[in-house]
């Protein structure tokens, strides 16, 4: 017997009560606080701030809790909150050269001015499950953020070995304010990638390393640290520091271009994100570089070089929305299909019988 799905309101209420119960879990286990999430699941919070496109640890932590740890869902919550906020204007460009560095590595040179600074990293840990780690109190490592450290790519630039980034001459666009159109200028592409899904960008970046649009990358410099953000209020007319954000930046050195007029030079790929997010910014830098195929006169042969494909599909809030919308009722359309299919089959049967 076919039972029509009615009483949706009651059903939804009941479902959300179940969700609340499920979110809380066993009441005999202490409830997690947003402060605990912010401090102890810090990298999850960083990811939510990044792809949620909003630098607010408190809100991002709350989103992680509310979403039961489903980060795509948490990102969605933050995006939904962000879009309601009033806009006061645009800050001055963040100056990552003046970053107070906690971690900074270059894979291109063994030693560099300012040194290689490993900082807080999973790199070189052995991924052996260790049930004991949370019972040992961590020994305090005195952290001494270094002062201003020159950029590795700038040093290559002095010799002309790497292309110099060209200013577009126009104010940067804002993908949250303007609809996308193709071809897209690089600034808007980078904005979109910065909000893009880490997993999607990671896989695309990986595909370029395996021959689907090769970019020959070297990690020129990856730096993590704090950067002051300046804003120029109209009333004052000069920039004032309004706060500090944690940023991760990746500058890739990619293999060269050259022509009869310009001697060969390395090219660049760029990645930047909120918080500590190396996987994301490295992926972003590889995808940024491969999306420059047209600009650098490279043949477009792979998915990662296809701007429209990448930009249109990298946003996980969009993607999850459309994929999961298939759970919504489609009774009406499906019914039309059923009718059509039955009609076609009936006609086919008649033809077959006639033929026999």
């Amino acid at each position: 017997m076919y039972v029509a799905v009615k009483g949706g309101e009651k059903a939804i209420d009941a479902a959300h009560r179940l969700l609340s119960e499920g979110r809380r879990g066993d009441p005999s286990v202490p409830e997690i606080t947003t402060e605990q999430i912010s401090e102890q699941l810090a990298l999850a919070v960083d990811r939510v701030m990044n792809e949620g496109s909003l630098y607010d640890r408190g809100l991002a932590s709350l989103a992680v809790k509310q979403a039961r740890g489903d980060l795509t869902e948490a990102i969605f919550l933050v995006r939904a909150a962000r879009t309601t906020l009033a806009r006061f204007g645009y800050t001055e460009p963040a100056n990552t050269s003046a970053m107070l560095i906690r971690r900074r590595v270059s894979a291109a040179f063994k030693d560099i001015p300012g040194g290689q600074i490993l900082g807080p990293t999973f790199d070189y840990t052995h991924r052996l499950l260790d049930a004991g780690f949370d019972r040992t109190s961590p020994s305090l490592v005195p952290e001494t953020p270094s002062s201003e450290i020159p950029k590795v790519l700038a040093m290559l630039g002095q010799e002309g070995l790497i292309e110099q980034p060209q200013a577009s001459g126009t104010a940067p666009g804002d993908v949250t304010q303007e609809p996308a159109s193709f071809p897209m200028p690089r600034d808007q592409r980078l904005q979109t990638l910065a909000r893009g899904d880490e997993g999607f960008l990671l896989s695309l970046a990986y595909s370029t390393q395996r021959g689907f649009g090769r970019t020959h990358p070297f990690a020129g410099e990856i730096r993590l640290g704090e950067v002051e953000i300046e804003f120029t209020p109209v009333e004052l007319g000069f920039p004032v520091v309004i706060g500090e954000v944690t940023l991760t930046e990746c500058e890739m050195i990619n293999q060269f271009i050259g022509s009869a007029d310009v001697p060969p030079q390395f090219t660049r790929g760029y990645g930047l994100g909120f918080g500590h997010c190396e996987r994301k910014v490295m992926s972003m830098a590889l995808v940024d570089r491969s999306l420059r195929a047209d600009e650098l006169g490279e043949e477009r042969v792979a998915p990662a070089q296809d701007e429209e494909f990448v930009i249109s599909h990298c946003d996980n809030v969009q993607a999850t929305g459309f994929v999961e919308h298939l759970k919504l009722p489609h009774y009406v359309d499906f019914q039309s299909e059923l009718i059509l299919l039955r009609k076609l089959r009936a006609e086919a049967n008649v033809m077959q019988e006639a033929a026999e």
């Binding site: 063994k110 001015p113 070189y124 052995h126 991924r127 049930a131 700038a154």
Partner: protein, 278 residues
């Protein structure tokens, strides 16, 4: 929580047997890429899991292990892998090339000539030399089977047409035993001549791509080239600033942000020995 106990050198014996079978086949067909069921290792894929699995499969308690990355024993990933084997196998380790029975390496071959008593294990990111000319594995396996290496020569020719020389400075393709074109892993082409007729067994492990290949001792390895554009290796204008060596591969060290550079041996063991001999 139950944390599992680990076997000697981490892998269980069944896995080691599987890897050893792949190694035997690899040695029997020099330069041929043998597929193997690479395991997850407690370090990320792309960080040497292939080399680590090969080393784990051939390691015995009597071995002395040396691990280098970029030619140096003190680079972070080399330290990490060495510690891994000290922890899981308790073997002796050394930084002296002559003392090692197994040397695991990433991106270099030691300057000190190797002997019949030694095995060199390479960490390989992309085992397929044709990968960047043909991304599909189904195609490249066919090309190897048919010995169809024309595209590689075309690529080298196009380099010459565009840049005036073969613009491949590392990961330089070579022909093993006059049969298979192989990828020597991203060692600088400077090291390619050391592959040829080497007394040591050379094993290559690619974990993420699940391939093992080998060059048995005293096997011919010819770097691809043309009669009129013969294979050549780079030379430095100045010797190593620490040990004065003129024959070793030099790393460029940036000393300031005003263009200052110094050149020193990438092989730290070689550099130390040259310096103490001087």
């Amino acid at each position: 929580m139950n944390v599992p106990a680990y076997n000697f050198a981490y892998l269980n014996e069944q896995t080691k047997r599987m890897i050893r079978r792949a190694l035997l086949k690899a040695v029997a067909i020099p330069g041929y890429q043998v597929p193997f069921a690479a395991r997850e290792m407690p370090m990320p894929l792309g960080w040497g899991t292939g080399g680590v699995q090969v080393t784990a499969a051939i390691l015995t308690p009597e071995d002395t292990l040396k691990v280098i990355d970029q030619g140096a024993d003190d680079t972070t990933n080399a330290v990490s892998i060495r510690r891994f084997f000290v922890k899981t196998a308790g073997v002796k380790t050394t930084e002296v090339t002559e003392e090692a029975t197994i040397i695991q390496t990433r991106h270099r071959i030691p300057e000190t000539p190797l002997t019949e008593k030694q095995t060199l294990v390479f960490q390989v990111p992309i085992p397929e030399p044709l990968r960047f000319l043909e991304p599909r594995e189904t195609e490249t396996r066919k090309m190897h089977a048919l010995e169809e290496y024309g595209v590689m020569h075309v690529k080298l020719y196009e380099d010459i047409a565009r840049f005036g020389e073969i613009a491949t400075s590392y990961d330089y393709p070579a022909l093993v035993n006059d049969r298979y074109v192989f990828d020597p892993s991203p060692i600088p082409k400077f090291d390619n001549p050391k592959l040829d007729n080497c007394p040591a067994l050379q094993l290559f492990g690619a974990g993420r791509e699940k391939r093992i290949y080998a060059i048995p001792p005293y096997t011919s390895v010819k770097s691809l080239d043309f009669e009129d554009y013969p294979f050549s290796i780079p030379r430095w204008e100045k010797p190593c600033e620490i040990c004065g060596s003129r024959a070793s591969y030099l790393d460029e060290i940036v000393t300031d942000d005003k263009g200052g550079r110094m050149f020193v041996c990438s092989d730290t063991d070689h550099c130390r020995k040259q310096k103490s001999a001087a």
